[in-house]
Symmetry: C2
Subunit: 251 residues, 2 copies
């Protein structure tokens, strides 16, 4: 992303009142969701997807629909490096192999995920910032910006929030603290943080340590009984209300 690129829409699909437009910014690939009957611009929530996932994965489409329909907001997602429509490097392949081996042998996957996602974040943070420049030029988008990303979405979101003053509220969660704690200490915007109480990958104390590190005066931990992949659906509804409270306070 050394040269600026214009955002170009490549496809438009309308489902039940929500318009999904896929876009490119240079080599980057993303998606934008807005209300088919939008009367004017709305605040934007950036959606960071999980590891091995992509810009229009079911979780992204589901969260985007809720943000648009229930929240009156606009949502945008972006493929992380090596994800979705983007090519994998040899380094990506090696790290993915290492994660799969750890899963198969029952070794802790955390150290590999922390290292690999940290590497991806170095690239993804400037990409998100460049795409945000473009998104804020669209007539659909106006007002403050939020960020919503769990797992790898948090590994990228925390370093993004630490340097991006345009993001004013974030829903994060489910990541290891080692590399993110020093960055979280610099973040002061309101945070809603999801954690699984019985996470088999992320130690409970480690999850709490990352929540504790945010310097935000308004921060809420939502810890649910259940394993890593059992984050309840109602947390997506809670996230919508969180963003409405902070991005559309008059609503």
């Amino acid at each position: 992303m050394n040269t600026p690129h214009t955002l170009r829409f490549t496809s438009t699909t309308t489902v039940d009142g929500v318009v999904q437009r896929e876009f490119t910014v240079g080599e980057l690939t993303g998606a934008l969701w807005s209300a088919a009957d939008a009367a004017g611009p709305a605040p934007l929530v950036l959606l960071g997807h999980g590891g091995g996932n992509h810009r229009t994965a079911p979780a992204m489409v589901g969260r985007a629909r809720r943000l648009v329909v229930d929240g009156g907001l606009v949502a945008a997602s972006l493929d992380a490096p090596g994800h979705g429509g983007r090519p994998r490097t040899d380094h990506d392949e090696r790290e993915i192999d290492a994660m799969q081996r750890a899963m198969e042998t029952g070794e802790p996957v955390g150290p590999i995920v922390v290292r690999y996602n940290g590497h991806l974040a170095e690239q993804a943070v400037p990409e998100w910032r460049a795409v945000l420049d473009e998104l804020l030029r669209l007539p659909d988008v106006g007002g403050p910006v939020g960020y919503y990303g769990i797992n790898m979405g948090t590994a990228i979101g925390v370093p993004l929030l630490a340097v991006e003053p345009r993001i004013r509220a974030a829903v994060l969660g489910q990541f290891w603290p080692e590399t993110l704690v020093p960055l979280a200490r610099r973040i002061t915007v309101p945070i809603e943080f999801d954690l699984q109480w019985d996470d088999e990958h992320i130690d409970r104390a480690a999850g709490l340590e990352l929540f504790d590190a945010f310097a935000s005066t308004e921060k809420t931990l939502h810890a649910n009984a259940g394993r890593h992949k059992q984050l309840p659906r109602f947390e997506a509804d809670s996230a919508v209300r969180f963003f409405v409270r902070h991005l559309r306070p008059a609503a």
Copy 2:
């Protein structure tokens, strides 16, 4: 409460579509809130007030209004022993003096509150059960029952839930674990649990220990940045959605 008593309404006030009826059951004093335009019976949420407070304290009225207006539910509160319209015993006076002295001298208030509230709960649990018998006979009330009480409302609510199978979901929080953990281990209904991350009275690990003890497969911890008395208002809205999800699943 050795002899059964009938519920008698003593006053009726209607404010903005919500009817507040004060009632007695024998020597007990409570309040019931329902929609002025209710078309039929609705599930009931029992409201347990905090220490030094009473059945129509602002927090009770505020929570009741939200439950009725936003949730389509009915709500009822009850004065705890020695609270509200009920006489204080010499034992009450001594314990309240001890709490106030501890507050003034900066000594930990926890051990006194745990001891005193445990004493009150022994009396309050059978009182709530007798009042619930009466409330369930009212034409306004139908369907499953919830319980909502923080602080002393949890000191009474946990032992109540441990013995009362008619209560199917509860919002609790902000209490010490010592005496409640063995009871919480017997509770399996869905729980939403509020905790203040920077509570100056209840140690963080102690608060988490009580949440951890519930045997419920669905339980959610809401931990907010802030001191003991700074529980955010939006947690009352979250509680309403929790009760709607569990008591009116079709809504």
